[in-house]
Symmetry: C3
Subunit: 204 residues, 3 copies
C-alpha cells in the first residue's frame, strides 16, 4: 500500500510542478523536468541524508509516472483550464503523502523519533520548495497559512500510533488525513499560527 | 578524450558563472565561488544520486581549472567587454558537453536507458540552474527556447549510437554537435516547442 | 572544543535563519524549518560530498539546538526588536565558525589542501545561501562586501598554522577571529575587492 501511495504522491506533486512551470510558459520538456524535480526532490534529499540508495535510480517507474503525469497535465491545460486551486490542493495531498512516506522510510533505518519527524517534514516540503524557487514563486512554506505544522502533526500521529501497535494501513490513512485536514482547513479559513511582528504592526 | 571534454565543459560553465556573477557586481572571490558551483554542480548531483564518489574531491584539477577560468573571465571583462551572447552560447556548449559526460558516467554503472538519459539531463542542466537561482536570474530552462529537449535529443543519439557499436569518439562528437545545433538554432530562430496556454492567449 | 564551537555555530546560524524567515511573516514552525535548514545546510552538503554520514542524523542534539534557538528568536522578536545588524553580525560569526569546522572535518579525511579550503568555504557559505534563496533575499555572497574572501583567508591560516604544529585550540581561535575581523571590518567600512565593470561604469 505504501508503494501505491508513493506513486500517487509522485503523480500529484508532478501535476503541481507541471502547473507551476506551465504558468511560466516553459516548453513541454521543460515542464516535464520541473515536474520530475518536484516529484522526486524530497525523496532524493531524504535518501541522500539517510545514506540509502536513491529510490528512483533502481526503479524507473517513478520517472515514468512523473513524466506521464506532467505530459497529461500539459495537454489538459493546453486545451482547457485546470480547476480552481488545483495547485494548492494538489500540493496539500503531496505534502500529506510524502510526509508519511518519509517517516516510514526513516523508521526502517531504526533511527530516533526526532530524526523520523525531520525526515517526514524534509520529504514532504523539499519538492515543493525546489519547484517554487526554480519558478521564482514565493515558496508555500513562506506564506501565512499553516504548512510545516500540518506536516509535523501528521508525522507525530504516525509515530505515536505506530508505536502503539495499530495496523499499518489504518495508521497511514489516519495520519495522511490529519495533514490534509489541517492544511486544507487552514487554507480555507486563512488560519495561521502566531506570526512575527504582529504586535508591532498593530501599533503602527 | 572524455576527460579533456569534461575539463572543457568545466571551463566553459565556469566562464558563464563568472559572467553572471560579475553582472551582479560580486567581488573576485565571490565570482570564483559562483563559477565553481556552476561548473561542478551538475556532476556533483549526478555522483551523489548514483552513489559514486564525487568526481572533484579526488581530482583537484577540476577546481583549479574552474578557478582559473573564473579569474581569467573576471580580468577580461574588467578591462574589456565580453563578445555578445557569450553567456547563452557558452551555456549551450556546457549543456552539450555535460549531458554526454553524464550519460557516459551513468552507462558505466550499468543502469537502464531511462536513468542514463535522466543523468545526462541532470548533469547538463543543474549547474546552470543553480547559477541562475543564486544570481536571481530566470533559469534558462524556464525561457521559451528549446533547452531540455536539446539535452534529451543528444542523450538519445548517444545511447542509440553507443548500442549500435560505433566508435566512442565518433559517438561523442555527433551527440555533442546535436545538442549544440538544436540549442543554438532554437536560440537564433527563437524556436520553441508547444507552450502552455498559447490557445487561451489567442482568444483574449 | 570543536564540538561546542559547532553547536555555537548552529545556534547562531539558526538565529539568522529565524530572523530572515520571520521578516517574511512565516508561522512559528515555518521559521523553525528555515532556521534548521540554514543551520544544518552547509554541514550536510559537506558530509554528502565527502561521502561521510550526515552529522546530525546520528546526533539529534543539533536539531534540538537549532529548534530551540529558532523558537527563542521568534519569541524575542515577537515581543521586542532585535538589535540592529543582528542578521549581518550573526551571519559573520556563523561563517567564521563553520568555515573552520568544515576545514577540520576535511582534514580528518586526509584530503589535499585545496579540498580542505573548498570544504571550509562550502560549509561556511551554503547555509546562508539556502536561507537567502528560500526567503527571496539577495544572498550575502552576492553583495559588495568581502564575504568568500574572509572565509578563504581564515581557512588558509587554519591550514598553515595546523601544519606548523601549533596547539589546536590556539589555531581555531586565531583563524575564527581572522574571518570575523575581515568580514566585520569590510561590512563596517564597506570594503570590497575589485568588482566587475567598475571601469566601464566610470566612463558612462
Amino acid at each position: 500500500m505504501l508503494y501505491i501511495l508513493d506513486l500517487l504522491g509522485v503523480t500529484i506533486f508532478a501535476i503541481t510542478g507541471a502547473i507551476t512551470a506551465g504558468r511560466k510558459r516553459m516548453d513541454i520538456l521543460g515542464v516535464v523536468v520541473v515536474a520530475t524535480v518536484t516529484a522526486l526532490g524530497g525523496g532524493t534529499c531524504r535518501d541522500l541524508v539517510l545514506g540509502a540508495p536513491v529510490f528512483w535510480v533502481s526503479n524507473p517507474l517513478y520517472i515514468i509516472v512523473s513524466t506521464l503525469a506532467a505530459l497529461a497535465t500539459f495537454v489538459y491545460v493546453y486545451f482547457g483550464k485546470p480547476p480552481l486551486n488545483t495547485l494548492l490542493v494538489g500540493d496539500a495531498f503531496g505534502l500529506a503523502i510524502f510526509t508519511i512516506i518519509g517517516c516510514q522510510k526513516a523508521i526502517q533505518t531504526g533511527t530516533s523519533i526526532l530524526i523520523i519527524l525531520v525526515m517526514g517534514i524534509m520529504t514532504g516540503v523539499t519538492g515543493g520548495m525546489i519547484r517554487d524557487v526554480l519558478c521564482g514563486e514565493i515558496p508555500l512554506i513562506l506564506r501565512r497559512e499553516i504548512y510545516a505544522t500540518a506536516s509535523l502533526s501528521g508525522g507525530l500521529i504516525f509515530v505515536i500510533l505506530s508505536r502503539l501497535g495499530f495496523n499499518e494501513s489504518f495508521v497511514v490513512i489516519i495520519s495522511v488525513m490529519t495533514i490534509l485536514t489541517v492544511r486544507l482547513v487552514s487554507l480555507w479559513r486563512h488560519l495561521s499560527l502566531p506570526v512575527y511582528k504582529e504586535s508591532s504592526e498593530k501599533k503602527s
